[in-house]
């Protein structure tokens, strides 16, 4: 998703506005950024946006100029022939997961497609995000199993002492990233997508230049342009990242060292996953969270349970309601020093001395150097403003024709698969078919041990929506403790939670904490996408004994009032 259209070091600096701003301002800024790019609050933001846009859904689709009699003779597996007068039908700036998904779909639709990449194919997800972190988490999961005496004893297993080779673990992550990167590159090449190397800049309507630093630029024209430049780790002001003792997720994934004691700033999913990895490898962890509770953004009940399992019994402590106002890397024989101030009063609260600090305060959009000024677009805190169809909105609130923005750089939902889904949605639109992506059907997962996954609304969000729109909200829950497969694995710790409308059986949200939760969520997200109601899905059959029966039981335990009789009981007036 991150495409790094420019690679100069300076562009990696935080996008927070002015450099010499007053401290208080900074914090407002951080605060404001949080819901948008940190944790799963992206979800929450999207929901709000969704309400706001309700009622305007009947916007006429702006697709003037698109000929309905488009030639579709191009073979599906080959890059198409460009429209008259253009070099390409579609140019995508950024070859992350979002750009890749869009390119694949565009070729399938017969569009002549090019993708501009200034760094490496695969973007953040593949190179510095989801993919290598999964490799580390696979290791940490096994370490946890080997280290858990009770767990092994319950199985009757004996393992004398588990150890690991740091470099071997790091290599595993690195190898996985390069393997996936090659797969992505090859899939683009085999479809005939032109991979143009360099920094992409929009020159004007339907015109893009690209080129490496120090080389002459090439200018190409395209019927439609997708911006998919992704994001970079967000580092708040006052924090000095040296890449050794004060690090971001980019460095942490390389696993160059395993510090004895690591502070993790931010307890969202990035911080949580890293706490899982590093504590399994022997580090102790201190969380620093600006909000009053850990794991904001998760359903409160799930968050509470997750804290009980993922934080409390581990070598982790935490400070909540505090900002890390200043972090100094270790040097001259001194440890990393973290100054904490109260999140509300800004009073100094504490000073921590740790061996390393991981900054996991979320991600900032990477949109500098895109040439947005050439099409009269102003970023909002770095994000490219878009409507619900990912069409870019200019300074005056008008849609910019033929320019779209997907993925982290629009900030709607900072997830790789969301970017890809948005890209596919955009391609559908430029091919003449209106499509609005339902972000509430996009699942999200945190790959701790056990995993956390979710789709749709949290309970408080659902209750708020119910109160506003006048419907009742019910909650059903099932425990992994009752699931045969989970018990066979000695992993009975877990909860699945369904938030639904008892009046019509609509699924509003599903949240799972437990073994393989990330794989289990899709039954729920598919149901939401397809609009399947509880009264229908509860008849679906699940193999026994499997973890999927947790969801089976969840749907069956929901109580939907009989839908067949729309006439309500007569009410005395």
């Amino acid at each position: 998703m991150q495409a790094s259209i420019s690679l100069s070091v300076s562009s990696h600096s935080s996008p927070a506005a002015s450099t010499k701003s007053v401290r208080t301002e900074e914090f407002i800024c951080i605060n404001a950024l949080k819901p948008a790019n940190v944790r799963f609050c992206g979800l929450r933001k999207e929901i709000l946006g969704f309400y706001a846009l309700k009622g305007f859904d009947s916007r006429p689709i702006e697709l003037s100029g698109r000929r309905s009699s488009r030639k579709l003779s191009a073979s599906l597996s080959e890059n198409g022939v460009p429209s008259k007068g253009f070099d390409y039908d579609l140019v995508i700036i950024g070859a992350g997961v979002g750009g890749h998904g869009a390119a694949l779909h565009a070729v399938e639709k017969g569009l002549k497609t090019a993708i501009i990449e200034g760094d490496v194919v695969g973007g953040t997800c593949v190179n510095r995000g989801c993919v290598p972190s999964k490799a580390l988490l696979a290791v940490s999961g096994r370490m946890r199993e080997f280290q858990s005496e009770q767990h092994l004893k319950a199985f009757g297993l004996q393992v004398s002492s588990a150890g690991y080779d740091r470099q071997g673990v790091a290599d595993h992550a690195n190898n996985l990233a390069s393997k996936i990167r090659n797969n992505l590159t090859n899939s683009l090449k085999s479809l005939g997508v032109d991979i143009l190397t360099g920094v992409g800049t929009i020159l004007g309507p339907q015109k893009v230049k690209y080129g490496k630093v120090g080389f002459s630029d090439n200018v190409i024209t395209a019927k439609d342009i997708i911006i998919a430049t992704g994001s970079v780790p967000y580092v708040p002001k006052g924090i000095e990242v040296d890449g050794k003792t004060v690090i971001t997720s980019d460095h942490a994934l390389k696993l160059e060292s395993v510090p004895e004691w690591m502070a993790i700033v931010g307890s969202g999913y990035i911080g949580l996953e890293f706490s899982d990895v590093y504590t399994a490898l022997g580090s102790e962890v201190t969380f620093i969270e600006a909000l009053d509770q850990l794991m904001p953004g998760f359903d409160p009940e799930i968050g509470k349970l997750a804290q009980r399992v993922l934080i409390n019994p581990r070598k982790i402590d935490y400070h909540t309601g505090v900002f890390a106002s200043k972090i100094t890397p270790a040097k001259d024989g001194k440890p990393v020093i973290i100054e904490l101030i109260d999140a509300k009063t800004k009073e100094p609260k504490d000073t921590l001395e740790v061996d390393a600090a991981l900054i996991a305060t979320g991600r900032a959009p990477f949109t500098k150097g895109l040439g947005l000024e050439n099409i009269n677009v102003e970023t909002q805190r770095g994000f490219v403003p878009v409507d619900e169809r990912m069409a870019v909105i200019d300074k005056n609130g008008k849609l910019v024709p033929h320019v779209y923005c997907i993925g982290d750089s629009n900030g709607k939902m900072m997830l790789a698969h969301a970017a890809s889904a948005q890209g596919i949605s955009v391609v559908e639109q430029v091919c003449g078919k209106d499509h609005v992506l339902n972000h509430l059907s996009i699942p999200a997962a945190c790959f701790t041990h056990p995993e956390i996954s979710m789709v749709g609304l949290t309970e408080p969000q659902a209750r708020e929506k119910g109160a506003n729109e006048g419907f009742e909200v019910s909650v059903a829950k099932t425990s992994f403790k009752a699931n045969t497969k989970a018990l066979a694995e000695n992993e009975g710790e877990g909860l699945a939670k369904l938030i639904y409308r008892p009046d019509n059986g609509e699924i509003l949200g599903v949240h799972i904490f437990g073994l393989h939760a990330a794989d289990l969520i899709h039954e729920a997200s598919n149901a939401i996408t397809l609009g399947t109601r509880i009264q229908d899905i509860k008849f679906a059959v699940h193999a026994h004994p499997t973890l999927s029966e947790v969801l089976d039981e969840l749907f069956k335990s929901a109580k939907v009032s009989s839908v067949s009789s729309p006439i309500k009981e007569p009410v005395a007036v």
């Binding site: 280290q147 004398s160 004895e260 102790e284 201190t286 409390n312 019994p313 070598k315 001194k334 425990s479």
Partner: protein
Amino acid sequence: MASSLLSKPTPNSKTISFSSSLATPLPWPTKGSASIKFHIRPRRRNPSVQAKIREIFMPALSSTMTEGKIVSWIKSEGDVLSKGESVVVVESDKADMDVETFYDGILAAIVVGEGETAPVGAPIGLLAETEEEIAEAKAKAASSSNTAPSTPPPAPSSPSPAPVPAAATVSSPTPAKVASLPVSDGPRKIVATPFAKKLAKQHKIDIESIFGTGSFGRITPVDVEAAAGITPKSSTSNVVSANVASPAASAPPKAASAATPPPSIPGSTVVPFTTMQAAVSKNMLESLSVPTFRVGYPVSTDALDSLYEKVKPKGVTMTALLAKAAAMALAQHPVVNASCKDGKSFTFNSNINIAVAVAINGGLITPVLQDADKLDLYLLSEKWKELVDKARAKQLQPHEYNSGTFTLSNLGMFGVDRFDAILPPGQGAIMAVGASKPTVVADGDGFFSVKSKMLVNVTADHRIVYGADLAAFLKTFANIVENPESLTL
């Protein structure tokens, strides 16, 4: 403690709220000692309150629940509670439940820590009404912590009944480490790692009283464990009663570690054992529980050496020859191939499996030649080569290194002329083979000659193998080696 408990069952079980006059340290009933009367009582504090310090009890969350585990304390000591707030999460036999407080107050002390178990009705925490009572409550809690199952009986000097906070009570077992203070400039701030804090809370140790030995003078989990007087465990389990290793094995190391380890010499580096080294260490300690004795025997090897020269081109190694010879001798002396598992009986092994000690990358492993008496010399040699390759690649399966019934250790190739070996646990005897050396011998007729001799020394478990057994076995072995033709049959 037990007597005081028995003598005062009533106040403990009935007075759910203590008056402040009851400040004398009264041991809280620990595991198993609580009155069962609590089952039928509603989980509610006595309303007739002149008392300011209330106990929070382990609630009965289901009709079948007899004890509960504290999953987590939602509130920590010093937190102000208001009626109806969740204070603690308790895991019963059925589910995890949040437990609420019925009273406003301040959580003064946590008596039963996270991960610990308490019977239904036992006090798990203390609720003070005002801040003034916190110290008093803490004193109570501190005195009860002396009886907590997690901490070993404190040193005779320690129980101080005075209402001083925990610091005074626990500081005495702290080893006086004064040497090599890390450079600290100015008033030092107490820095403790997250796990150290957790442990301190669990063992009810005042973190301020602990001297940190970690980097930058911080307090590490090891420091807390030392202060608590418990043996550091390698595992991270926070359950108090996790360590139930085999009693025979754990007894000697425990006794040993009760004493503070000698201070390390400055500049020394500590390299933790590898898995293999840890296993060796464990086995060696276990071997101390077996009464062993040793018998040596000189064996002349001229015939064996010439046989070796003949079969060497066919891939036969000296190890295989010796293993085969030992196996053949064992076949005739099954008691030497037996083992004593329980101290009460002989266990005769149906197979003769010769384990051969092999030094490997700073470790030691004993690949096993199974059925060495039955396999012929060439198969045995092949098998040996295979085992060595596997050992080098760390791919030996457990049955390939722990199924030995007799062990062979040969240091002859290093010029060692004699040594004695430690008997590995579970086996009856081990043979230590020295180098073969030309030796002047006189025969019965008074003629001198030079013959190659090697010294063989067998260590055996005297519970089952007696001197005469070993002597007879060694005679047979010597016979086979001196007339080695049978080895190739």
